[in-house]
Amino acid sequence: MNKQLKKRYAADLRFRIYGMSAVAMSLLFLLLLFVSIIGKGYTAFQQTALLLDVYIDSETIDPEGTRDRAVLSSADFGAVIKQAMQKIFPEVSDRRDKRALYRLVSSGAEFKLRDQVLAHPEQIGKTLPIWVPADGDVDMLMKGSIARDASETDRPLKDKQIAWIDHLISEGRLKKQWNTTFFSAGDSRDPELAGIGGALAGSLLTLFVTLLLSFPIGVAAAVYLERFAPRNRWTDLIEVNINNLAAVPSIVFGLLGLAVFINLFGLPRSAPIVGGLVLSLMTLPTIIIAGRASLKSVPPSIYEAALAIGASQMQAVMHHVLPMAMPGIMTGTIIGMARALGETAPLLMIGMVAFIVDIPGGIFDSSTVLPVQIFLWADSPERGFMERTAAAIMVLLLFLIVMNATAVILRKRFEGHR
C-alpha cells in the first residue's frame, strides 16, 4: 500500500513538474523573443554621424547670387559635400578612389546641408561645421556589424575605406549619436535615412479610423443584443455571425477590403481609410463580445432597481448599466485596438505595401503602417535594415505592451470595484 502511495505521489509530482515546465517554457519563449529582438535592434537607436567643415561655396550653389529659394533648393549641394570630404583627404586623387571616398557620406547629407542653408542663407560663403549622416555601411562598421578582419572581398567596405574611416575616427569626426531620423523620417532606400515616422503616422491614422467606426458601433450593437434584442431567429443569426466573424482569418478581411472598398466603392489603394475600414470590421466582433460580457456582468438588481423607480428600459440601460459596464468595454476595445495595430495580412491585400516616402497627412493619403513597414524592411538586403526592422518591432511592441497593460490595469480596477 505504502509503496503504491509513493508511486502515486511521484506521479503527482511529475505532473506538477510538467505543468511548471510548460509555463517555464512559454515564458522562456517570450524571453528568447524579446532578448533576440532587443539584441538585434537596440543599436538602431544610435546612428553614426560625420563632422564635416563645409565651405558653402556661393559659386557652386548660387552662382548668380540671387539667394532665390528655388535656385538654392535645387542647387548641387552634393558637390559642396564632396569638396568638404576632399579637404579632409587631399591625397585622394584617383577617380575610383574619390568615388569610394564619397560613398562614406550618406546621400542624405546634401539634403541636410540644403535645409540648413535654406534656413540660414546668410551662411553662404562661410565654412560651416556640420554633422551629417554617415553611410549605412560606415554605420554598420562602427557598430561592429561588419567584421574588420574579414577578407576585403567579403565585406562591402574596402581596405582603403576602412583606413579613411579610422582616420576620421582619430580626428573625432565620426561619432555615434541618438538617432532622431529613425523616429521622424519616412521610408528610404538608404538604411541610414529610413525611419518609422511615416509608418507610425499611417498606423495612427488607420487606428483613428478604426476606433472612430468600431467603438460606437460595437457598443451600440452590444447594448442592443444584450438588452433590447428580442429572442428570435434574426438575433440568433446576428449572434452566430458575430462569433464567427471573430474567428475568420484576418486575410479574408483583406480580400473583402480589396473587393468591396477598393474595387466596388473606388476608394484609393494604400490609404488609411481603407485600412481602417477593414480593421474596424475585424475589431468589431471583439468589442461586441467584450461589451456583451461586460454588460452581462452588471448585476441585474441594478437594472431592476432603476426600472422599479420608474425609469424606462432605455434610461435604465443608458444611465446605470452602461456606465457600470464601461470599464469592461474599454478593456475589450483597447485589446481590439492593439490587435488592429499589429495586423499586417489584410493590409497587404489592399496595397499598403508600397514604397512611400512622404509622411501621410490624412486618411486618403498613401501610407503604410508599422507592421507592414516591418515586413518590408525584413525583406531588405542592406544590413542596416536588419537592425532597423528589429528596432521598429521594439517600438511596435512598446505600443502594444502599453495598450495591453492599460487593459489589464483597467480590468483589475474594474474587478476590484465589484
Binding site: Q4, L5, R8
Partner: protein, 305 residues
C-alpha cells in the same frame, strides 16, 4: 475568483499540515489535552453532556478552525464511537460542516484554512505530518450536500476510487466491487441496465446514492455526510435514510443535517453546535426529549435557528 481559493489549496505530501506539529507540541506541553476554556479571550461555554466514549473511533481534543483571521470553531472536544450514526445539528454557520471536513482533512483544499488541536482516529493523529491525507481519505469517505457525480458513466463513477487505489487486480474484480457497492447503496436494481450511461442522467436521489456507492466502493471506515438530503425531495430523502440505516452496521457515519427530524430518526448520538461552539452532546433521544442546555432547548423547540 472565490473558487480559486479552493483550487489553490494544496496537498503537500511532505509537510501535510504546516501547523499541526506546532499545535501538537503545544498541547502536549500544556499537559492536558481535554479542554481549554479560554481561547482568544472569548468566553466559552462548557460542553454539556457526555463527550467521552470508551474506545472511540474518532476523538477530537481542543479542535479549532480558522479561516484567515476568523475563527470558525472554538476548542471542540468530542468522541465518536464505532458503528454509530452521529448527527450534528445547529443553525447555519455554526461550524458543523467545517468540523465534519476536519475528519478527512478536506479543509486542506481551502488555502487560508487552519486547523489546530488534535483529532485522533483509532489512536493516531490525523493531522500529524506523517499521516497522509490521501490514505486518510480512503479510510474516511465523504458524501456532499449536492450530489456531485463525475461526468462519466455510472460504472466509471463507482470504479473511480477502487481504480486509483488499485483495489482490484482485474477488470472483473473491479466490476465485482462496483456491483457490490451499488447493491449496498441500494441502487443496483435501478441502474443495472444502464451502467454505462452518464451518472449525471440519474435523478437527484439516485445521484446521491451513486455518490454513496462511490464512497463505499473504497471500503472506508468512516463516512462523513454533509447534509446529504438537503437537495432532495422527501421520497429520495427517505431512501437515503433507509440506506444509512443499513450502512450503520459496517461503518461509522457522521452526518450533518439541518433537519432535526432526520437526526432524531437515524442517529444514535447527536451534537448541537452553536456559533463555533459545541454546546451539547448526548444520545439522540436524550437530546431531543430532554436537552440540558438552554440553547439546545431553544433550538429544538424552534425558538432559535
Amino acid at each position: 475568483m472565490k473558487k480559486e481559493e479552493h483550487i489553490m489549496g494544496k496537498i503537500e505530501p511532505a509537510i501535510p499540515f504546516p501547523n499541526s506539529r506546532f499545535v501538537h507540541q503545544q498541547t502536549l506541553k500544556r499537559g492536558r489535552a481535554i479542554r481549554s476554556d479560554q481561547i482568544a479571550g472569548q468566553e466559552i461555554q462548557e460542553t454539556v453532556g457526555e463527550i467521552r466514549l470508551d474506545d472511540p473511533r474518532l476523538s477530537c481534543r481542543d479542535v479549532s478552525v480558522f479561516y484567515g483571521d476568523k475563527q470558525a470553531l472554538r476548542g471542540i472536544n468530542l468522541d465518536i464511537g464505532r458503528h454509530e450514526v452521529f448527527a450534528m445539528i445547529g443553525p447555519s454557520g455554526c461550524g458543523k460542516s467545517t468540523f465534519l471536513r476536519c475528519f478527512n482533512r478536506m479543509n486542506d483544499t481551502i488555502s487560508n484554512c487552519r486547523v489546530t488541536g488534535t483529532i485522533m482516529m483509532d489512536g493516531r493523529d490525523i493531522n500529524h505530518n506523517e499521516t497522509d491525507p490521501v490514505s486518510l481519505r480512503v479510510r474516511v469517505g465523504m458524501v456532499f450536500q449536492k450530489p456531485n457525480p463525475f461526468p462519466k458513466s455510472i460504472w466509471e463513477n463507482v470504479a473511480f476510487g477502487p481504480r486509483i487505489h488499485h483495489l482490484a487486480k482485474t477488470k472483473e474484480g473491479l466490476h465485482e466491487i462496483v456491483v457490490k457497492s451499488l447493491q449496498q447503496a441500494g441502487l443496483w436494481d435501478e441502474v443495472k441496465d444502464r451502467l454505462h450511461q452518464a451518472g449525471l442522467g440519474l435523478s437527484g436521489g439516485q445521484q446521491q446514492r451513486l455518490c454513496i456507492a462511490r464512497t463505499i466502493a473504497i471500503h472506508p471506515e468512516v463516512i462523513l455526510m454533509d447534509e446529504p438530503c438537503s437537495a432532495l425531495d422527501p421520497i429520495a430523502t427517505g431512501k437515503i435514510e433507509e440506506l444509512i440505516n443499513t450502512l450503520r452496521k459496517d461503518y461509522t457515519i457522521c452526518i450533518v443535517t439541518h433537519s432535526m427530524q432526520q437526526a432524531s430518526r437515524i442517529s444514535d448520538r447527536t451534537a448541537y453546535f452553536h456559533l463555533g461552539n459545541l454546546v451539547e452532546v448526548g444520545e439522540t433521544k436524550k437530546i431531543f426529549i430532554n436537552p440540558l442546555h438552554p440553547l439546545t432547548e431553544d433550538y429544538i423547540t424552534g425558538r432559535l435557528g
